[in-house]
Structures are given as structure tokens and as C-alpha cells.
């Protein structure tokens, strides 16, 4: 079915509700002819106490979006467009020094490689206390008390003695708890957790996710949870944004997204996962081909080489992120929007 109605622009949460917003963000590496655009027109927003899940395949730009938003892009990377708003204040033009202050108390990041980036030669206590003393202006003893309080809060037993432990003396799950404690130490308004459980065992993963979720509720933080695992967002996120090739291709309330995905990519991902529950003999029907390489961008819709619903227009024009049907609550970046009818009939009913 082809849609001829003029799409409404995608509606995000009104700025007054959003604590943290990324608007039309672009990130590129290199200059001129060698320039590679890794994030394109990404808009995300998260309200007070809300949890936003950001999902997508490896290389789709999840981490780069967040690093850019926090002024942490590595050398060679630059913001090419857009705004990053924390309670309405644009962070893009802040000086490195102002940005450091924001990172302490406004937004905290648990980065994807945090588990391996702990300093092996420093005790947990020293690593936790240092920023409190340097940037927070705390006394040594006040910092120590605060550290114990935080380790207690994240469920590390025997907190006082754990301060003297070196990272290698803690299990992966305990290290992740310590990192979470460090991230929330200055009461951030927004916590960004980039794949916080990927390196952990499933049993530990589930404990850490529940810890993050309960801290969010207790401390009233907004949470952005980045993951490639749709099961992880199912349990925690209120809303989900799906990224593909550096762009948001769909956002919706979590239940709506799982019950009635609209983008062919989201639909195919969910189908692959549910097929895993089938009998051994049955073949999976995975998405064919590879995700695109930002060095060789696809003309038109970036999903078109892998899409079952592709038409000529998909190869010529990039679709806009828009929603003409659900009043802007479920924007999707697709010319064809093949499941839209389904989506309306199912939205009130079925689970999957």
C-alpha cells in the first residue's frame, strides 16, 4: 500500500519535558574528499526519569552519537551539524572546561570500553575519589564516606574494604558495579550507559540491568541505554530509537515497537530473534547481506540493498523520518511503510 498523505514532521517530546535532547546531530571523520559521515541527522530526546533505549547493529553510530554529544569525540572526529541540549542549554559550543563540568554533574557516561579502561595500578577507592576531590572540591574523608555510600548503593558487599581492592581483584560484575557507582557519584541528571552488560554473563547482566533501572527510579535520572540486544531494551526502556547506518530509522514506545514495528529493518530483526525459539531443523530467515560501510554510503534509503520491500524510489531518495498515521508518535524512515495498516490494528491488541 502506498501512502500519499503528506507526512507530519516527526514529533519528539516537547523541549520543556526533555532533560536531554540531541537535535539533527551529524558527526564526520576526515576532511574534504576523505570525509566520512558516521552520524547523520540524529535526533533523540529523553525526559526526566525516562529510559530511552538506542539499538542498532555494530557500526551504526550509537557510540559516536553519544561521544559527540558529550564532547568526547576522538581526534579527527567533528560535529558537522545539530545541537545537544541539556535542560535547554546547548552544549555544542561549550569550552572543554565547561564541558568537563557538565560531564561531572549533568550527564554521566558509562562508556563501552569502561570495563577495560579502569586503571589496573590504582585501587577502586582512589579511582572513585579522585574526581570528587579534584572537580567536586570534596575533602579526602568526605570523598571516602561518599565512596562507601555509593558502593553500598550499587550492591557491593563490604564496601569499606572494597575501596582498597585493585580492579583485577573484582569480578566483571563487581567492576561494572563500581563503574556505575563512579558514574552516578555527582548525581547526574542523565546517565548514558553504552553496552553496560555486553561483556558480562547473562546472570550478572540481568542483575546489572536491574541495578541501573532501580537507580534511575530512585535518583530520578534520565537513562539512555545503548545496546545491540533487543531483549535488553524490552526490560528497561520506555521508548526505543532504532539506528541504521548513522540515522534514526524508527522510534516508538517500547511496547508499540515490539508489538508493531514499522520499519522493515526493525521488523526483520525482531523476526530473526523470535525464530531462534523454533525447532532445530527450521532454517532462520536472517536479513541478507551486510550493514553498509559509511565510507561507501548507499544511494537513497541505506537499507535498500537488504530490504524485502524495496521499490525504485528507495534507490533514488532518502526517506524522511516522519509519521503520517499515528500523530507523530511512531515516526519511521521508510518510503513504503509496509506494515502501517498492521500497526494500527495491532497497536491495541497482540503482544508480538
Amino acid at each position: 500500500m502506498m501512502m500519499f498523505t503528506k507526512p507530519h514532521p516527526a514529533q519528539t517530546i516537547r523541549s520543556s519535558d526533555a532533560v536531554f535532547e540531541v537535535k539533527d546531530l551529524g558527526v564526520a571523520y576526515g576532511r574534504d574528499a576523505a570525509s566520512v559521515q558516521v552520524v547523520n541527522d540524529v535526533s533523540l530526546s529523553v525526559g526526566r526519569g525516562e529510559a530511552l533505549g538506542v539499538v542498532g547493529e555494530s557500526g551504526c553510530g550509537k557510540s559516536q552519537t553519544m561521544l559527540a554529544a558529550l564532547g568526547l569525540l576522538p581526534r579527527g572526529g567533528r560535529i558537522t551539524s545539530g545541537q545537544v541540549l541539556l535542560e535547554g542549554r546547548n552544549l555544542v559550543d561549550l569550552s572543554p572546561r565547561e564541558m568537563r563540568a557538565v560531564r561531572g554533574s549533568g550527564i554521566a557516561l558509562i562508556s563501552q570500553d569502561a570495563l577495560t579502561s579502569l586503571n589496573p595500578a590504582m585501587t577502586i577507592g582512589t579511582q572513585m575519589a579522585e574526581p570528587m576531590i579534584h572537580y567536586g572540591g570534596m575533602s579526602r574523608s568526605a570523598a571516602r564516606t561518599r565512596c562507601i555510600e555509593l558502593l553500598d548503593l550499587v550492591g557491593i558487599p563490604g564496601a569499606a574494604t572494597r575501596l582498597a581492592s585493585y580492579p583485577h581483584e573484582l569480578s566483571g560484575g563487581m567492576r561494572q558495579r563500581a563503574l556505575i557507582a563512579m558514574a552516578i557519584s555527582a548525581n547526574p541528571k542523565v546517565l548514558i550507559a553504552d553496552e553496560p552488560t555486553t561483556a558480562l554473563d547473562v546472570t550478572t547482566q540481568s542483575q546489572i540491568l536491574r541495578l541501573i533501572d532501580s537507580l534511575r527510579k530512585e535518583l530520578g535520572m534520565a537513562l539512555i541505554l545503548i545496546t545491540h540486544d533487543l531483549g535488553v531494551v524490552a526490560g528497561v526502556a520506555d521508548r526505543v530509537a532504532v539506528l541504521y547506518a548513522g540515522r534514526v530509522v524508527e522510534t516508538a514506545e517500547t511496547e508499540t515497537l515490539f508489538a508493531s514495528p514499522r520499519h522493515p529493518y526493525t521488523k526483520a530483526l525482531l523476526d530473526t530473534i523470535s525464530q531462534l525459539e523454533d525447532e532445530v531443523s527450521e532454517r532462520l530467515n536472517p536479513i541478507p547481506g551486510l550493514p553498509p560501510d559509511p565510507r561507501n554510503p548507499v544511494q537513497g534509503c541505506p537499507f535498500n540493498p537488504r530490504c524485502d520491500y524495496v521499490r525504485d524510489v528507495c534507490r533514488a531518495e532518502l526517506p524522511a523520518l516522519a509519521d503520517s498515521v499515528e500523530g507523530g508518535r511512531h515516526p519511521v524512515r521508510c518510503h513504503v511503510d509496509p506494515f502501517v495498516g498492521l500497526s494500527l490494528t495491532m497497536a491495541s491488541g497482540g503482544a508480538r
Binding site: 554473563d201 546472570t203 540481568s206 533487543l230 530473534i273 523470535s274 532445530v280 532454517r283
Partner: protein, 343 residues
């Protein structure tokens, strides 16, 4: 039933712990402790368990890459130790594929050279003949033949994993240990590799040991499941009954920890929690390995090691090692968790 393709009997593997500048042996890691299971020919056994539970070591022991401190491994009716003594090398019928194919592929050799080298070393083909075989191997794993010219760094993760599988297939093994082969890949690529492995199994009657921490993949590919914890088997049996009605508290905890990609179910379902920390493999406790984390542990769990046994009235091939698995309060808690996990 015909004899199994692979048979492990009471297999143990220990590693020395060295301390100080003199690297004196200060103790031993009991990485694998009296592990027994079979793999039927043409079937897949899924080996699951948490990090450090001894999965990879078991897989390596199976193909003669880890020294046995005890027990025996039989590969297609032949004792592995005897085979090694006779041939002085790894028997060609078994192969292993690892999680990180990048680390195991030579960065300075093209894909074609890597595959050709394997064929030549094993004297399976050489020269022009070998080139042709390389082409066919790439076809078999769904790669374009022109990729033979490329170096590993110029391939995607999924493509590298296909090359690693092609390299294992080159010597025409009957049995392959697949150690976390899809763990690092995206869902779409995972699905492609899983299909490939299943097609190869069907076409060639291959036998697999599929090691992973991803329970949804293992559920899809395995005929039976072995669950390890602290170097020992906690539970083993047919896939269906393990997933629908686990007998062991650890298996139950594992299954209920897997996130279900359905928000309504995921938020509501009951869970079995595990407490505290994994066991220390260098100082194994007497009794049950899971005792420190188990909600149902009692005195007997601290003193006596539970043996694998089946449960009255259930599939006799489904075994678990738990003193209390028959007891009503344990059964009830586990079945409540199982209902949440499968629906």
C-alpha cells in the same frame, strides 16, 4: 542406538598456578572436573555456562589441545590418547573454530593463501588443484571467490568467521568444536552463520560441540544441552526438556536471566536469582559447586558432591546434579521461573 561419535568419560583438566619470580607451582586450577557426556553422530551438543566455567577447556580437551589430568576421550570409537601416541599429532577428523577469527588468521596472508596452506600442510592438494579447492571452500561458506585475494583486515567480522569455518572444513573433519563462533556478530550476521553451519551439518553429517554463553542461539542449534558451572556438569539432557523444565537451580537461574524480547513478558516474569560470586576454581569447595550462590542450599550441599541423576517420572536422559531437585519447594520455584522464561 549406535555408538556416539564423541564420548567423554570423567574428563578432568588442571592448570598449574605459578607464583613469584621463580614461577613455582603454588596450586592448581580445576578447570574441568570429572566431565562426562556423549555427542551422537551428526548432532549438536550445546555447551553453556558462565565465564570461567570450563567450556573452552572442555572443547580443547576434546580435540587433544588440553592435557587430560584424568578420564578418557573417544572420537569415533578411537581413544584420543592412543591416536596421538600413534600419529604424534591432532587427528584430522576434529577441528576447532574460535570466537575471534581475526586473532587466528595470519594478517600477512591472503585468505586464499591461508586456505591453500592448510590444504598443502595436510597434503590434501597442491598447486592448481589446491586453488580449485580453495574456490570450492569459499563457495561452501557462501563467500565470493574473489575474496581469496583479500587480507583478513579487509573483511567484515562475519566474513572472517566464514573464512575460519572454511579453514576448518578444508581438512574435511567429521567433528567441529565451535567455540563462541557467533558471539561477536550482529543478529543478522549471526543468523546467516547459524544457517550455514546447519546446512553444512545436514549435507555432510557433521557433528558439533557448540560452545556459547548465548542461550537463544544454543536453543536453536542444539539437539542436547550440557550446562557447566565451576568446571562440573550441573545438568545435561535433550534440548526441549532442559529449556522447558530445567531440574537444576543454576540452569533455572541462567534461563530466567536471558532477556525475553517482549516487553510485557520481560517486565512481569518471576526470576530465580543467583547470589554472590562464581566459585574460585583454584580452591574448589567440597560439596556442590553452586552452593554459595544457591537459594536452596542446605548442610548436605556443603559436604557432599551431588551426582548426576534423572528425576522420577521424567525423561531418563535428562540428568542433573542437585541434592534437592526432587523436593516440592524447589520444583515449584523452578517451574514458576520456567513458565516466565518460555512463554
Amino acid at each position: 542406538m549406535s555408538a556416539p561419535a564423541i564420548q567423554l568419560k570423567d574428563v578432568s583438566v588442571r592448570f598449574p598456578i605459578r607464583k613469584g619470580i621463580l614461577r613455582r607451582v603454588a596450586g592448581e586450577v580445576h578447570a574441568v572436573d570429572s566431565v562426562s557426556f556423549d555427542i551422537a553422530e551428526g548432532e549438536t551438543v550445546g555447551l553453556v555456562g558462565e565465564s570461567g566455567s570450563g567450556k573452552s577447556t572442555t572443547g580443547r580437551a576434546l580435540i587433544g589441545l588440553a592435557p587430560l589430568a584424568g578420564g578418557t576421550v573417544e572420537c569415533f570409537g578411537r581413544d584420543l590418547r592412543a591416536l596421538r601416541q600413534a600419529h604424534g599429532a591432532l587427528p584430522r577428523m576434529s577441528q576447532i573454530v574460535f570466537q575471534d577469527p581475526y586473532a587466528s588468521l595470519n594478517p600477512r596472508m591472503t585468505i586464499g593463501e591461508t586456505l591453500k596452506e592448510v590444504l598443502e600442510v595436510h597434503e590434501l592438494a597442491k598447486g592448481h588443484d589446491a586453488d580449485q579447492r580453495v574456490g570450492r571452500l569459499l563457495d561452501d561458506v557462501g563467500l565470493r571467490r574473489d575474496l581469496a585475494e583479500r587480507y583478513p583486515h579487509a573483511l567484515s567480522g562475519g566474513q572472517r568467521q566464514r573464512v575460519a569455518i572454511a579453514r576448518a572444513l578444508a581438512i574435511e573433519p567429521k567433528f567441529i568444536v565451535l567455540d563462541e563462533v557467533v558471539s561477536a556478530l550482529d543478529v543478522s550476521i549471526q543468523g546467516q552463520i547459524v544457517n550455514l553451519l546447519q546446512d553444512l551439518q545436514q549435507d555432510r553429517g557433521l557433528t558439533y560441540l557448540f560452545i556459547t554463553h548465548d542461550l537463544s542461539i544454543v536453543r536453536h542449534v542444539s539437539h542436547s544441552i550440557v550446562v557447566m558451572y565451576g568446571g562440573q556438569i550441573m545438568e545435561k539432557g535433550p534440548r526441549k526438556s532442559i529449556f522447558s523444565a530445567p531440574l537444576h537451580p543454576y540452569t533455572s537461574a541462567l534461563l530466567s536471566a536471558v532477556p525475553v524480547p517482549n516487553p510485557r513478558i520481560e517486565r512481569m516474569r518471576p526470576r530465580i536469582d543467583v547470589r554472590s560470586e562464581p566459585p574460585d576454581p583454584s580452591a574448589p569447595l567440597p560439596g556442590c559447586r553452586f552452593q554459595k550462590s544457591c537459594l536452596f542450599a542446605t548442610e548436605i550441599c556443603r559436604t557432599s558432591r551431588p551426582q548426576l541423576r534423572s528425576m522420577t517420572g521424567r525423561d531418563p536422559d535428562h540428568l542433573a546434579a542437585c541434592h534437592h531437585m526432587q523436593e516440592p519447594h524447589v520444583r515449584e520455584a523452578l517451574s514458576r521461573a520456567a513458565q516466565g522464561a518460555v512463554s
